[in-house]
């Protein structure tokens, strides 16, 4: 019963997000034809990986998830050019650690660069390795 209630509540929330007009002042969901279904809420994206034992996943949660998980920019932009179901980076099948490192340091289209102050080489290696391994599972 509780599970059903939680599901219904989740569905209502997801619908509420979809129905909300997008606006720069708050999270919103796309209505464009390219939109992928929203699995995670804005709040879910912010706490992504917080409980993970994997330092790469934890760092991804703090440094990347706000754009790449749930209703946000990185995910929407990628939804236009990657296979369906892979718009969130942890779902990608084609990422190698070196590719992730190159994109993070050089930027790609509208993805800005990350400096070595914001994300050290060691931290970047952890994120990149986690993303590459996750994709092979």
């Amino acid at each position: 019963m509780i599970r059903i209630l939680a599901f219904v509540l989740g569905l209502i929330l997801a619908l509420a997000l979809i129905a909300m007009p997008a606006d720069a002042q708050g999270p919103a969901a796309p209505k464009s034809v390219n939109a992928t279904p929203i699995a995670t809420t804005a709040l879910g994206a912010i706490s992504y990986g917080a409980q993970s034992a994997n330092p790469g996943e934890k760092l991804f949660g703090r440094k990347c998830a706000f754009c790449h998980i749930g209703p946000s920019t990185g995910k929407f932009m990628l939804a236009r050019r990657v296979p369906k179901g892979q718009a969130e980076l942890p779902d990608r099948r084609d990422l190698t650690a070196d590719y992730v490192k190159a994109v993070v340091r050089n930027g790609l289209v509208n993805m800005p660069t990350f400096t070595r102050v914001e994300l050290t080489d060691r931290e970047l290696a952890q994120v990149a390795d986690w993303l590459a391994r996750k994709g092979r599972k």
Partner: protein, 519 residues
């Protein structure tokens, strides 16, 4: 590898300065290689961004290291460009106004030093981002809410110091700061407000202290490096209600602004209200090519298609109400009474009660969703904002907006505007989207911005915040008594920072004609 030197320095002198910086803060935190420098180029630069390239980056980890850096900078006369997190997107991000400055990146100073639940305040360092503070409050389940700006990737302190805004009752971010700790341009340390007293208990309780209050001196300026700040947080209310009002016609802005401004002045609506045109909403969920591939500015007929498909009005105003159940419901009834006869249908507010999922509430939830708008034209996108301050007069604001829309159409730029309603003012924001790698777009954007600045100043409206490429031009429009404000700023700057080592030219203060030299 190309090396860029700070203004007036030769290679040997620059190397000596870098050596001293390395000894002071450690080798890994002095970055001077080209690969590191390119990660600090403004991602929204108009063109390649090299006209605002830095010569090196210094990333201190403590107040003492900031002080050491400033003392060394005075010895070597190396100009520093301080940034909290460097995410001032749309205004130059981390890039210095003057080419060749060393960026002083405070990102590593990212501690949340204290959160006082009872008194609803906190003390934080400049590297703390909106996501960091939000996570901190939520993980501890504290009943304290934040205001967040449209792009929440940046620093809480940095945004407030540049007078950024959010859309909750705590949305005038500079007003929510209470007590600063500042490294002055001679390397000495100052605390403002009650913090000026040794062992003060009320540093985050009262802003003004005794005698003149200097906090505003450190906002949109270059007279010190803020290394700590107190911040007031919003106690979680019992109830919120929110709605987006869709106003069907362009001209509806006139009467709607007058009603909403009145509600804002009376504090019935307690937050900055934003009021955006169709491209504002469409650009966060689609690209221009999804709607139109023709040349010139987007025709009104296409905007109308967007409105129909996305369920938008010409203007879309998000309104939120905060408080106890009785007052929120009374305010809902008032707004329904004012707007329903004009909009011709019932207004459905989304109501949140304490204990329900936060997404449903009107709290600020950090997001980078708005950054999607730079993808509008395709390619590597960027945006520039021109946002002059108008008084709260609907007819005046509508007449101004019409003039601006006509000019966007004349130069072939898609019209994207919003009105932000503050406590006593309206900002008519012109957002200018572009593909930074398209030279004709960059030329058009520059022409448009300069025209808007001139046009607004001639109408008596001044810009509230400046992009690094136009700081001198904006400062020059503040020309009462032949530039008395600029003269005062220069005198203060010369007295506090005689070597002009802190952010030369920021907001037009201490500008020099000469940038860095490339070797």
């Amino acid at each position: 590898m190309s090396i860029l030197l700070p203004a007036g320095m030769n290679g040997a002198a620059f190397d000596r300065a870098l050596g001293d910086f390395r000894r002071a803060i450690g080798d890994p935190w002095v970055l001077s290689g080209e690969e590191d420098r390119q990660t600090y180029i403004d991602p929204y630069a108009m063109g390649d961004g090299l006209d605002h390239d830095c010569s090196a980056i210094l990333a201190p980890g403590s107040v003492e290291e900031v002080q050491a850096i400033i003392r060394i900078a005075n010895q070597h006369k190396t100009p520093l460009w301080p940034v909290s997190r460097g995410k001032n997107l749309g205004y130059g991000a981390a890039s210095p106004k003057e080419k060749g400055n060393l960026i002083l990146d405070l990102s590593r100073m990212n501690r949340i030093l204290d959160v006082n639940e009872k008194q609803a305040s906190c003390l934080i360092e400049p590297g703390v981002g909106y996501f960091d503070l939000f996570r901190h409050l939520r993980e501890r389940n504290l009943p304290l809410w934040m205001s967040v700006p449209g792009n929440s990737w940046g620093s809480v302190i940095g945004n407030a110091l540049d007078r950024g805004i959010g859309y909750t009752p705590y949305g005038d971010h500079c007003e929510t700061l209470c007590g600063l700790e500042v490294v002055l341009p001679d390397g000495s340390l100052l605390r403002t407000g009650m913090g000026a007293m040794m062992g003060a208990k009320g540093w985050q309780s009262y802003k003004y202290g005794y005698g003149p209050g200097w906090d505003q001196m450190f906002m949109q300026s270059n007279l010190g490096v803020v290394v700590k700040a107190g911040l007031w947080l919003q106690p979680e209310p019992e109830m919120t209600a929110k709605i987006t009002l869709a106003l069907p016609r362009f001209d509806d802005a006139g009467w709607a602004l007058d009603i909403l401004c009145d509600l804002r002045r009376r504090d019935i609506i307690q937050h900055n209200i934003v009021f955006g045109s169709p491209v504002r909403a469409a650009s966060t969920m689609s690209q221009r090519a999804d709607w139109y591939t023709g040349p010139g500015a987007l025709p009104d007929s296409i905007s109308e298609q967007m409105m129909a498909k996305l369920g938008l009005g010409w203007w879309n105003a998000k309104i939120s109400l905060f408080g106890d159940e009785g007052s929120v419901m009374a305010q809902v009834a008032l707004i329904r009474r004012l707007f329903e006869p004009r909009l011709g249908g019932p207004l459905q507010f989304e109501v949140w009660k304490r204990g329900e999922p936060l997404e449903k509430s009107a709290t600020g939830i950090p997001t980078t969703m708005g950054l999607q708008s730079v993808n509008w034209y395709g390619g590597r996108g960027g945006h520039l904002s021109f946002a002059p301050v108008l008084p709260q007069d609907g007819d005046m604001a509508l007449a101004y907006a019409k003039k601006i829309k006509a000019y966007y159409e004349e130069v072939g730029q898609d019209y994207y505007a919003s009105f932000t309603i503050g406590r006593r003012h309206i900002n008519n924001v012109s957002l200018i989207l572009y593909n930074r790698d398209e030279p004709e777009a960059v030329t058009r954007v520059d022409k448009l911005y300069r025209h808007l600045l001139k046009e607004a100043a001639a109408s008596g409206f001044g810009e509230y915040r400046g992009h690094i490429s136009y700081m001198d031009e904006v400062a020059a429009t503040y020309d009462f008594a032949d530039g008395a404000l600029a003269r005062l700023n220069s005198r203060v700057k010369a007295a506090l920072d005689p070597n002009n080592i802190l952010a030369p030219g920021r907001n037009g203060i201490g500008s020099r004609t000469h940038g860095g030299d490339r070797t």
